[in-house]
């Protein structure tokens, strides 16, 4: 007996990044197809109960109806009867329910923001994030079948920690009060409003703290990644203080893929490494916005103290390849 939960964000893949860069567009019908593949693969590796987050597109019902009509649904499926408001809190609330009911694994379809929302509700139940957005660093681009196999195997494992990593996270405080988290990067932007949420203009960015960084990713963590690679398993983060308009202060000048198809110049005046438990703190010199994992979230007023602390309190994330390799080692794909 094993169970998984599926959280699919109908809003991912259609924000302003389609207009200001060359970001991927993914419609909800394609997400339905991905979820179907996840369900089919998961039930094929032993999952017998699947819970869906309720949402305005009704992913769960569409998938259940289609697979039942096809005669392909063997697992018992249930769309959770919890209230939804078509906002990020739906994801957090659903993830928390799945944690409370000790599901075997939670598969999350969306971008960094969706993963972050789910991570806020999870602690020990493994998270398997599947990318459907843009500028995604945290969730993997992976085929639904593969994700479903890995989720099913993780859900049925005695010790999922064998192929999961307890991720880092950046804990954000303002004036000493804990406010939120980021899984990939926390960025200070010269914006005054949340607006369309996404950030893309490097000229507005003052600080970047990246819990992971690699030049092969897209977004502001990639700016750190073009200086130094920091992997999820590394117990450190990189903090950058950018130059703004005054490039004479620059100690490093790079270009980095901060948005899809766009390599922008980034001038850096200070680079700091943070260890686990260390914080990058500053006093806001003017009103600004904190963007967490690529989305503007928290308004900060001039004079407020901001702290980004690196911890290993993130979710237990399933390493898909490692999970499937372990499954081969244990003969889980053998039919005899």
């Amino acid at each position: 007996m094993s169970s998984i939960g599926i959280i699919a964000n109908p809003a991912s893949g259609k924000d302003i990044r389609r207009l200001v860069s060359y970001a991927t567009t993914i419609d909800n019908q394609e997400k339905v197809n991905i979820v179907k593949r996840i369900v089919l693969a998961a039930q094929s590796v032993g999952v017998d109960k699947i819970y869906f987050m309720p949402d305005s597109f009704q992913f769960g019902w569409v998938v259940i109806d289609d697979l039942e009509l096809d005669g392909n649904l063997t697992a018992s499926c249930e769309v959770l009867q919890i209230p939804y408001m078509a906002c990020a809190e739906d994801t957090t609330r659903t993830a928390a329910w799945m944690e409370e009911h000790s599901l075997g694994c939670v598969v999350v379809l969306g971008g960094d923001g969706t993963s972050r929302a789910a991570a806020k509700g999870l602690k020990d139940v493994p998270l398997l994030p599947v990318s459907t957005g843009t500028n995604n660093v945290y969730p993997e681009y992976t085929e639904g079948t593969v994700a479903g196999m890995a989720a099913g195997i993780a859900a049925g494992a005695d010790d999922p920690a064998e192929f999961c990593l307890r991720d880092k996270r950046i804990e954000v405080s303002v004036d000493g009060e804990f406010r939120d988290i980021a899984l990939v990067d926390a960025v200070v932007s010269d914006d005054l409003w949340v607006g369309s949420r996404a950030i893309w203009d490097v000229k507005k960015i003052e600080h970047i703290v990246a819990a992971r960084s690699h030049p092969a990713s897209i977004g502001f963590s990639a700016a750190a990644g073009c200086l130094e690679v920091i992997r999820p398993e590394d117990d450190r983060a990189l903090a950058l203080h950018l130059c703004g308009d005054d490039e004479t202060k620059a100690v490093r000048k790079i270009k980095a893929p901060v948005a899809a198809g766009i390599l922008s110049p980034v001038d850096i005046q200070e680079i700091r490494e943070l260890g686990i438990g260390e914080a990058y703190s500053f006093t806001a010199e003017h009103n600004c916005m904190l963007a967490l994992d690529g989305e503007r979230e928290i308004r900060v007023r001039e004079g407020q103290e901001v702290s980004f602390r690196l911890t290993r309190n993130g979710p237990l994330r399933v390493n898909i390849e490692k999970t499937l390799e372990k499954a081969v080692e244990h003969g889980l794909f053998n039919r005899d």
């Binding site: 389609r18 409003w193 369309s196």
Partner: protein, 328 residues
């Protein structure tokens, strides 16, 4: 993207103008002062405001049967609008068109429109005109979610895309086509998804957040002016009232209505301006009072204006084509 404090202050005034104009129209209609049909824009103020703040006077808009907000945001005169609603000869259409036909060519307002989806093809024509004449003008085309099932929507996006016309398609997804909820009139949730079928960018934004709309429109309009073609912006919002005044809207879920009203765009913008030191509460109260006076003046103007004369019933119905050609 830059936006000045002056622009934000202007946006607040625009939103308040729309809110108060519509609230007044609601009351005057209920009291029998306004004849005909009335489709109110209450709750959707952030969209017209956020888009039109990016437009120049000579840019175009096309509108819908729910068009008062668009006309006000594009600079329409509330006196002439109110007079039109009252059916008076001083109105924009000399009292013969009513709420759904207000137009002002001097302001680039190509008309509200009683036919669902009809503005989309007019917008393509305006866009073609801008491109043909090599001006930097654009056309913002407002329409609702219901109209995206009309053939005109698909024809317009297709043609605008092929010819890379400077048209910004602004879908006001208020979740209802007349009394039919979006979930019952189309199998998609995000109308922005439909842009991909025409090879143009499609984005979805919070239509109750004036700055989110402003930001998306700013980028789309800049793109259009550079000759990069059309964009589809889907603004998620909620129609506070029934489809028309008099519609009891029993098809709405009261809980959903309550949740959306809690995301009230004018109040949200007011809080944003105050939090960011753009305007103080006193300054905004002063704007509110000034707009109250503007509305009173508009009502007085409408009430004191004469009705159209019966003998003029046939006038202005058809264009005098020979005269138009001769003037040009």
């Amino acid at each position: 993207m830059d936006v000045t404090k002056e622009q934000m202050r202007h946006m607040y005034r625009t939103m308040v103008r729309i809110r108060k104009f519509e609230s007044n129209a609601q009351n005057d209609f209920a009291n029998g002062k306004i004849p005909g049909f009335l489709h109110l824009y209450l709750g959707e103020e952030a969209i017209a405001t956020g888009v039109c703040e990016n437009l120049n006077k000579d840019d175009f808009i096309t509108s819908t049967h729910r068009g008062h907000g668009h006309i006000i945001a594009k600079g329409g005169d509330m006196k002439y609008m109110m007079a039109e609603l009252y059916g008076k000869s001083t109105g924009y259409c000399k009292g013969k068109g009513g709420s759904m036909h207000i137009a002002d060519r001097d302001l680039g307002i190509l008309g509200a429109n009683g036919i669902v989806g009809a503005g989309q093809d007019i917008a393509v024509g305006a866009g073609l005109s801008c491109k043909y004449r090599k001006t930097q003008q654009v056309c913002a085309c407002f329409f609702g979610d219901g109209s995206t099932n009309q053939g005109t929507f698909h024809e317009a996006l297709n043609m605008a895309s092929i010819w890379k016309l400077p048209v910004i398609f602004v879908c006001e997804n208020n979740h209802f086509g007349i009394s039919m909820s979006q979930s019952r009139h189309q199998a998609i949730k995000d109308i922005a998804d439909r842009a991909a079928a025409y090879g143009i960018p499609g984005v979805a934004v919070d239509g109750n957040d004036a700055m989110a709309v402003y930001e998306a429109a700013n980028e789309a309009i800049a793109r259009a002016r550079k000759g990069q073609g059309p964009t589809l912006i889907e603004c998620k919002t909620w129609r506070w009232r029934g489809h028309f005044e008099g519609d009891p809207a029993i098809y709405k879920d009261p809980k959903e209505q309550e949740e959306w009203v809690a995301r009230e765009p004018v109040k949200r913008f007011r809080e944003f301006l105050e939090e960011n030191g753009v305007m103080t509460a006193d300054e905004m109260d002063k704007v509110d009072a000034e707009v109250d006076q503007e509305i009173k003046d508009a009502v007085q103007f409408a009430e004191e204006s004469p009705l159209p004369k019966p003998e003029d019933v046939g006038k202005d119905v058809y264009t005098d084509f020979d005269e138009e050609v001769r003037v040009r």
